[in-house]
Symmetry: C2
Subunit: 343 residues, 2 copies
Amino acid sequence: MNDFFVNNKKTKDISELRQDPVGRDWVVISTGRAKRPEAFKSSGTPERETPINLCPFENPKEHGNEVIKTYPLADGSGWAVQVVKNKFPIMEGQNCRAESKEGLYLVKDNAGYHEVVVFKDHRRSLAQLEVAEAGQIIKVYRERYLELSQKMCVDYILIFHNHGRPSGASISHPHSQIMALSFIPADVRRSLEGSRKYKEERGRCVHCDILEWELKEKKRIIFENKSFVAVVPYVPRFSYEVRIFPKTHQSYFENISDGETVDFAEALKISLAKIYHGLNNPAYNFFIHTPPAERDHEYDYYHWHLEINPRLNIWGGFELGTGGEVIDVDPDEAAEYLRGIKT
Amino acid sequence: MNDFFVNNKKTKDISELRQDPVGRDWVVISTGRAKRPEAFKSSGTPERETPINLCPFENPKEHGNEVIKTYPLADGSGWAVQVVKNKFPIMEGQNCRAESKEGLYLVKDNAGYHEVVVFKDHRRSLAQLEVAEAGQIIKVYRERYLELSQKMCVDYILIFHNHGRPSGASISHPHSQIMALSFIPADVRRSLEGSRKYKEERGRCVHCDILEWELKEKKRIIFENKSFVAVVPYVPRFSYEVRIFPKTHQSYFENISDGETVDFAEALKISLAKIYHGLNNPAYNFFIHTPPAERDHEYDYYHWHLEINPRLNIWGGFELGTGGEVIDVDPDEAAEYLRGIKT
């Protein structure tokens, strides 16, 4: 999915969740932003910048974006961050009670909220920001998380960022997205289940065990400070993937303290700068994996973290047929390389 | 992963499987074909054709490919299909006994076989072939499947095809790939588990139930003949996805009869031709999901099928963070559209 389209209105838009009866994953069907069949082109996705005079995020309000909150620069000279409603939301509304049956499928409304966190500068990505500026963005994530988690129908809140066209970012002006979903996504569910089982079987947090080993081995750590560590995982999902973990067992992103936001921002900014300089400004995505916002269940066994996925390879039939990428760079070498990149 | 690279030799290549301790998925680490960090460019992947005079598949043997078997044209005037060893195999070797421990991770050799099924014509993709020609390719798939399944270390055989650069096909000359793997891939494992659970709970095959409903509804069927049906799933994983199923319960692809290969080839060729003409020759992948080749377990509950995934959208942070694509075209409309495309 690209994150912004021209909205070609169709006769009947669908916005619902449908459950796959095999894997029991919920799938989002949201046709409001779809291109018509005849609009499809097979022409790749050239790297290009959104012209600044056409950029909808230079002045979000003037371009018809509904501003939720504006955060000022430290010196009061203007805005630093703005949170806006996504003009073409993937999920919307507060109807999450009714589940219906269609054949053997469960179907429900695609309720939720879809917000955009717009950074001030058209050309300065997170890799170029000062740690204090990145820290402000982390605090915005936390504030939006806490507010959205109080709303109806919000089972899971996904905070993510697309950088570069091959990552799905169709507007180059730096921005993150926050989606408050009325379901728990498949990959999150599996990560939760795996962590819960490991805890049940061994009495420990799987991510704490991983970190203890990585901190002893040291080989795959690219950066650490007092409270966070950035590591190329021994078993990554992407070549040059970097994951950032709180060093001590912390289950919930939104409980991050003010002091920790600075450490987290530093680890994120430096990791992205190493990727930017070391890999020639590649496209990447990052997202935060944290437990569901719904708290009918207890998720203290989980250990929140952020994953940065550089988009260096194309997924082909192997990846789609198996569910994973072939890791073509030794994680030890990837880490050694990134560790050596000056930022 | 792209399927062919210039092989930049590095100091130490790794080819192993590592198990993710959270989800217990096996991940392939295969660095032999990797590009060096400094070789990474952020420059997308332009659509382009491999020049015919440089094409390694025009005459595979002359280009140093080890030919496993050559299949002649019906009139004996030359070759129609050649199966060759992949020059830069992702998996290789027959050492699948020893599992070792590295920290909290299980590690084993990336044993297996990686073959390429080369079609004769540089510019005629499966969508352009005659049904008889496509049928010959299906029979080659079956023959290779049966032979590879007898070899050591082969737990799963994945047959897949990449069409167009954004699908991962870096050589445009039409070819499929067959990977004989010494592990069961994550997505296959989940599809097996889901099917087994459904069978346990309801006493029926989940795919038979899906097909019964689709054949009654008729809305999402784009093509059917005596033994196969091509359908846009009510819950797809990709916009314009098409799945092809045997109409009766059949668990194992390799048991397809000669007569059925013709029906299957027709359903595949016509589905691909509808996608080719209807969606402006987009990139796509297809792969066959069939039970593991290892038969220590019984998989009669499974229902083999082929999935065609057009690559119309870019996966961004939402997809990578949740594990699924936003379906932006109503499956009913997608099916109605493809059904109407003349081939």
